[in-house]
């Protein structure tokens, strides 16, 4: 049994970067706790992990954790991570992005990372809103929900991140929420362990920019909403599609064993005839 507080202290950079920027009641801290427990379980040393993040509230996670950390440009974290992984395949790379970061500005990089099956772990913190810039609607804001740029309610159909990345060929796709923090760390552990491109969607409450505007109640109420509407994937599959409503599946949604990009690249190297041999 891993205790959060002890593990957290081991991985934080307390002297450099606190207080952190997150609002009281924000779910990103819970997600960070789960990530740290997952990494602890893998047994990798701090030097074997690279944490890359985009820009946004979620993107700040890289500032607080004591790994090789890279805080990139908005939406481009996966591109930087691709370069690191190909240049040094020994490194284990975790990419933390917000929903806007990953699926709007970074949408193209996300779908191509899936297709390429590059061995990275993408952790997408989905709070259904652009948090850092003040609550504008994102590609995951539900229809009719309000945002600072959707005062009359959003009229755009939201993405289902997991379905999107599954269709694009990700090797491992899983979803959890801040209510299911333990499940989240188990899924992250599996994702880091998995060869190929893995995506874990962590549904997280943003009480300040999303919850308040949409009358979702307190942070605890928002987490209870996650609890009441989530359903394990096998059970979810049995629900007739017309009766799904707001419910969503959690747990492992895709788990494939396919050669990753580097394995295929090694074949290219063989074909090209390595001159040094």
């Amino acid at each position: 049994m891993i205790h959060t507080s002890e593990t957290m202290y081991k991985y934080l950079r307390p002297d450099k970067t606190f207080p952190h920027v997150w609002c009281p009641g924000c779910g990103i801290g819970i997600v960070m706790g789960a990530l740290v427990r997952a990494i602890e379980r893998t047994g990798f040393t701090k030097d074997e992990i690279v944490l890359v993040s985009g820009i946004g509230c979620s993107g700040r996670m890289s500032t607080y954790l004591d790994f090789n950390t890279l805080h990139t440009t908005h939406g481009r974290a996966l591109s930087f991570a691709t370069g690191i992984k190909l240049a040094n395949p020994k490194l284990n790379i975790i990419v933390v992005m917000g929903d806007g970061d990953a699926t709007a500005i970074g949408g193209n990089h996300l779908i191509h990372s899936c297709r390429r099956n590059i061995d990275l772990t993408a952790l997408i913190v989905n709070n259904n809103i652009y948090g850092m810039t003040g609550g504008q609607y994102s590609p995951t804001t539900p229809m009719e929900h309000k945002a600072s740029t959707a005062q009359y309610g959003s009229i755009e159909k939201p993405f289902d991140i997991c379905k999107l990345v599954e269709a694009c060929g990700a090797s491992f796709v899983a979803r959890s929420t801040t209510y299911h923090a333990k499940m989240l760390d188990a899924l992250l552990y599996r994702a880091i362990d998995k060869k190929g491109f893995s995506v874990v969607e962590a549904m997280s409450q943003c009480p300040v920019q999303y919850g308040r505007r949409n009358k979702k109640g307190s942070p605890v109420d928002m987490m209870m909403w996650f609890k009441n509407n989530s359903i394990s994937n096998p059970a979810f599959k049995k629900i007739p599609s017309g009766e799904v409503g707001e419910q969503f599946p959690v747990g492992i949604l895709v788990d494939l064993d396919e050669p990753d990009y580097l394995e295929r690249y090694r074949q290219i190297v063989k074909k090209a005839g390595d001159d040094r041999l």
Partner: protein, 376 residues
Amino acid sequence: MKKYKDIVLHGNEACALGALAAGMRFFAGYPITPSTEIAEFLSVELPKIGGTFIQMEDEISSMGAIIGASLAGVKSMTATSGPGFSLMQENLGFASMAEIPCVLVNVMRGGPSTGMPTRPSQGDVMQSRWGTHGPHPIIVLSPQSVLECYTLTIHAFNLAEKYRSPVIMLMDGLVGHMWENVQLPEKIEVIDRPEPSVPPDWYNPYDDLPGGEIVPLVPFGDGYRYHVTGMVHDKSGFPTLVHEEVEQCLDKLIYKIKNNLHDIIRIEEYMLEDADICIVAHGSVARSAREAVNIARSEGLKVGLLRPITLWPFPRFHLENISKRVKLFVVPEMNYGQVYGEVLKSCPKRAVRVTRVDGELITPAQIMEKIEGTAL
């Protein structure tokens, strides 16, 4: 790999070969004319020597990927043309701010926008300097021949490592697509990233060392854990808004280049000693300008040529010195006058321009016409 000694080479190919000779082992790019041959050539050669080639989904990700690879300790490069160069600007700024060595080749074509994909231009002189936002330094080199595509690419990597900075190879489409017989030099100087001189606990990747010495960038995974961000950061790399630290961060970016102008700036002078008229030209236009000098001299006109090989930082002091001696500057360019503006800024003397933006080359005759038509 084939041996390339006394051989007919293409400018783009020579650039790719120079990169390999400099130790570049990671290339990420997205196809665009007239730079495409660089990617095509490297997709064949890099796997042979244990390097990595990847065709990314666009130029934004290509620039991101080469920054990532460089942070992991591998010399990296991308190549593009006009529109792709615009897409790279945000991440180019990141490389500048985070002080990540890498090389970006821009084989210029006619613009704006999609412009003239197959025609050469020199329209990105200002974009190469000011395309990204905020105060930042940049090093930009402009070759005029196939041989220089090779030697200057090596130089670009050396400057990138030495000054922990992105370096741009700004080639016009003519230089990139030119075929020439070249003798590649047998001996070249290659600068690799130095080892850190302090243990991990003392390491501050953005330290301000006495004498302006630059802290080596340790590859991720080598036991020196640190934070890299595009935000204004303190000397350890963490975001800061403390007045003194903000100043230190931004000043250092500028001064690491400004204090080393003598080392960074390369120019070529031709028949300038006794000249009354100085042509300032770079890239393929400098070749026409050199011929114009020869014609002028045969007619008894005292004309010389200054060729900035380093376009940025701009060789201001050289111009200022020359301006004390010459009566007129003539600046031929394949644009409406981007270097011309810098010449005007650098010296109070009279300057005239010769412009051409139709994708055709500037001829020696065109330059002569201007010289002869301008009263001294």
